[in-house]
Structure formats: C-alpha cells, structure tokens
C-alpha cells in the first residue's frame, strides 16, 4: 500500500506545486466573501479533489491497472490506497493552506483571513469525504474519462438536491428535523466526533462499493 502511495506522490509532484499557486489564487479571489470558513472548506476540497482526479487521470493515461494487477498486490490494496491518499492529500492541503495563510497574513495582503481550526478541519474532512466517496466508485467502474460525465451530473444533482433537501425536506420531515435539532443541542466536541464519524463512514461505504466494482473489472 505504501508503494502505491509513494507512486502517487512521485506522479503528483508538479500538481502539488501547482496547488500552492492555486490556493493563493483562490484566497485572493474569495477574499471579499464574508464566509471565511466556507472559503477554507472550498480550498481544502478543491485541492484534495484536484490531486485525486489528477492521480486517476495519470493512472488511466498509463493504463496502470494492467501493471498494478500484474504485481503481487490484491485489489483490496489497490482500491484502499486510493482512499488512504485522501488523508495524505488532506494533510498536504492543510499544510499548504496553513503556510499560505501564514505568509499572506505576515504580509498583511488579505484582511480577515480564516486560520485553521479543528471545527473547520473536520468540516473540510466531511466535505472531501463526500466528494471522494461519490467520485471513486464512478472512477473504478468507468475509468477516468467516462466517470467525469456521470460524476458531474451526479455532483450537480447532489449540489442542488442538498439545497432542496435543506429547504424542503428537512423542514417538513420530522426525523431529519429532529436530527438537526439534536446536533444543534450538542457541544462542539460531540458534533465534531459525529461529523468525523460520518466522514469515515462515507469513505468506508464508498470503499466497499468501489472494491465490489473493481473486483469484477477486467483489463
């Protein structure tokens, strides 16, 4: 598993360097927005997703499934490494964000910068898990090129669906609204644990689906 993770880091060196510039760009573009925590989450998700998708694109370009499945590696490990990389990308994104905001803050270039908090981190982890959790089963089923089309349809469907869910269903559905009220009554630690648990659960379910799909794939 470590080998596959090292491979991704070798492959993504340039993309990682580019993501630093991308982050600075995003911080400046979104500096006028009031929702600084939202900007942080967006930056995290954008960097993590960019790295994930770039890695998948390079794998597809190199038809790497043939090599990976010819090496003494189980399909569990091949799929698992992709999911574990989400954590690595997250650590990298946090480091880049932390460094970026520190430098920009020192130079006083953007007022009201959002500095990393534990709540923000857990929120970004959940958002990244949702995005990755949806993307990877599509990738393992269809490959990079085809998965993009379905993924975009689903992603935007989900995006607008969540708005609909929040505006209509949650307010009308007693179970969901009770769940919302329950969370609102909890202290930050409990909410944090539940959020992190949900993120891990999403990744675990997604991994199960991806593995089931990948075990049936032929190359």
């Amino acid at each position: 598993m470590l080998s596959l993770m090292i491979k991704d880091i070798y492959l993504l060196k340039r993309t990682m360097a580019f993501s630093v510039l991308y982050l600075v760009f995003m911080l400046f573009v979104f500096s006028s927005l009031d929702n600084a925590a939202g900007v942080f989450t967006f930056c995290m998700v954008a960097i993590i997703h960019m790295l994930m998708v770039s890695s998948c694109a390079l794998d597809e370009k190199n038809k790497s499934d043939v090599i990976l499945n010819s090496l003494p590696l189980s399909r569990q490990v091949i799929v698992g490494a992709r999911y574990l990389m989400v954590i690595i990308y997250m650590l990298f994104a946090v480091a880049v964000y932390g460094l970026g905001t520190w430098v920009i803050g020192m130079l006083n270039m953007i007022p009201d910068l959002y500095y990393i908090t534990l709540d923000g981190l857990i929120g970004a982890f959940l958002a990244s898990s949702v995005i990755t959790g949806i993307y990877l089963p599509f990738y393992f089923r269809l490959g990079y090129i085809k998965s993009r089309i379905y993924y975009f349809i689903l992603f935007f469907g989900l995006f607008f669906g969540i708005n609909l869910l929040v505006s209509k269903v949650i307010t009308e559905n007693t179970v969901l609204s009770r769940m919302g009220s329950f969370l609102a009554e909890q202290n930050d630690t409990v909410v944090g644990i539940i959020t992190a648990g949900a993120a891990i659960a999403i990744l675990a379910i997604s991994y199960g689906i991806s593995l089931r799909i990948y075990k049936k794939r032929e190359f």
């Binding site: 080998s3 492959l11 043939v66 010819s70 090496l71 003494p72 190359f219």
Partner: protein, 288 residues
C-alpha cells in the same frame, strides 16, 4: 512434479471471440513458445493466467496452485513483460523501481543494478523518453530482478529491431538454461522461437491446435512440394493446408510416409518452419 503452469479446459467468451476449452502445461527450466496469428487468443490466455480477465470456465494452476486463491504468492514468483510499456511514463526507471521493489518478497537490488547497466539504461530519465527497445529492456530488468521462477511474456519482441530481439532471446535462453526458470513466451514472429523454444503451443481461433516439444512438431509435420498434376481432390484430403500456383503445389501434411507412398518419388518433402505450420493451419481455418 515440475509443472509450473497448467491450463485446463479454460474458456472465455467475448462478443465475436471465444477461447474454447483450451488445455496445455509447461515444466520448469524450459521455454514454451505460444504461437498463433493475431487475434488467435494469445493475449487473452496470458491475461487470464495473470487474472487480468475473469475466466468463464476451467482451471489455471501456477506452481501447482490455483492462480486466484494464491494470487499474491504466485505473482511474487512471476516476472512479466507485455507487448507495450505499462509502467508510468512520467516516472524515471529509478522511481518506478522504488515503487515496485518493496512489493516483491525476493527483490534483489544488485541484480536490478546489473541488468540496468548491462542494458545501458538510464536511471533518471523519464520512461516516456526511452525508446521502445529500452522500455522493453526495462520491463525485462524488473521481471528478472525478483528471482521469479516463471517469466510470462506477451509479444515482447514485437516492434523491436533485430539486435535487441536477438539480445532478448539470448537472455531468455540463459535464464531458462542456467537458472532453471520457465519462460512462457507468446509471439506471432515464429522465427524467434526457432532458435530458443523447447516447446510450442499453437493456438488458432481460440483453440489449441497442438502443444508439443518443438523438435517433435518440426519432425511430425512435413512440407510437400510437387507438380500440379500430382494431386487430385482425394489426395488433398491428406493435407492440412495446400497452396497451388501455376508452378506447382506446396502443402503441409502430418504423415510423411503415407504422403510418400501416395505420391511417390516425384515430390519433395522438407522440414517445415513454425511459420509454415502456422500459415497452413490458419489458412485451413479460413477456407473451412
């Protein structure tokens, strides 16, 4: 029992192609050439052995063990070279080695370094910048650096110049003879096998035509040449395939004594090449 590869009643069906109940086996210390025209089922068979495709029916045993149940253990002992480079083109040979080496239990860095210098391969140039021959040699260096007992190669010589091809064949011979490893080697360039193969398995249209020692194959079949008037429809039935021109006929047959008795001394009987055998079998199927 020294059988390192056994394929039994293996079947796989795609739209428009069927690998039909094929069986063959090979032993340690020998080179088996897996020949057949393009689209005969060579790559499909190799992909099935490597579990890159899922079989519909049959059994594949590598080192006497089921190739799926003991997949990781088996792949630790297999070296593979495919018809094109599948290693990450953006990485250097050294980086790729760092990814691959920890995956093999018996990786030998000294062997790898020796092959890299023997093949004059650069360690720090991106793989995409290597020539086709260099990429193939790199795949071979990886395949030979973890003490594999079986090398599986799918058309490794296709697209290579004669010098690199010859070099590859020499290495395969020494690996098989001196290190007692098995080499399963698919190709449609049969002249490669004339020099190095011990056994030949011939596949055509998804079916095994024969799987025997190369010398037996070349001994059993005969190439018959003669004047046009010598053969009629009755005689033609004794040939696997026949080619007629205004200068005479040439055909492939099995029983040279029977042919000699039937057509007398006015014909010439020669030892066929593997190319001749493949050609006439393929033509027979096209004509049928």
């Amino acid at each position: 029992m020294n059988k390192i590869l056994q394929v039994r009643n293996l079947s796989k069906e795609f739209k428009g192609f069927k690998l039909d109940n094929i069986s063959f086996s090979m032993e340690k210390g020998f080179i088996m050439g897996f020949i057949g025209p393009n689209g005969a089922g060579k790559s499909t068979t190799i992909k099935l052995i490597m579990n890159l495709l899922r079989k519909d029916a049959g059994e594949i045993l590598v080192f006497g063990k089921d190739h799926i149940r003991h997949e990781k253990e088996i792949k630790n002992r297999i070296g593979f070279v495919y018809d094109e480079n599948y290693y990450y083109e953006e990485l250097t040979p050294l980086q790729m080695k760092r990814v691959v080496a920890p995956l093999y239990k018996n990786w030998d860095d000294n062997t790898f370094t020796n092959y890299m210098s023997r093949f004059e391969l650069p360690l720090n140039k991106q793989i995409k910048d290597l020539s086709k021959g260099m990429k193939m040699k790199y795949s071979l260096a990886i395949a030979l650096s973890h003490n594999a007992d079986l090398l599986i190669m799918d058309e490794p010589t296709s697209g290579l110049d004669p010098i690199v091809r010859r070099e590859l064949l020499d290495i395969l011979t020494s690996v098989s003879r001196e290190e007692n490893k098995g080499v399963f080697f698919s190709t449609h360039i049969t002249s490669d096998l004339d020099r190095v193969a011990d056994f030949i398995t011939f596949i055509n249209e998804g079916k095994i035509v024969f799987s025997s020692a190369k010398d037996d194959v070349l001994e059993n079949y005969c190439l018959v040449k003669g004047a046009n008037g010598l053969i009629g429809e009755e005689e033609k039935r004794n040939f696997i395939g026949i080619r007629e021109s205004r200068f005479g006929f040439e055909g492939l047959a099995v029983d040279r004594k029977k042919i000699r008795k039937m057509l007398g001394e006015s014909i010439v009987i020669e030892k066929p090449t593997l190319d001749d055998i493949m050609l006439y079998f393929a033509r027979r199927n096209q004509d049928a």
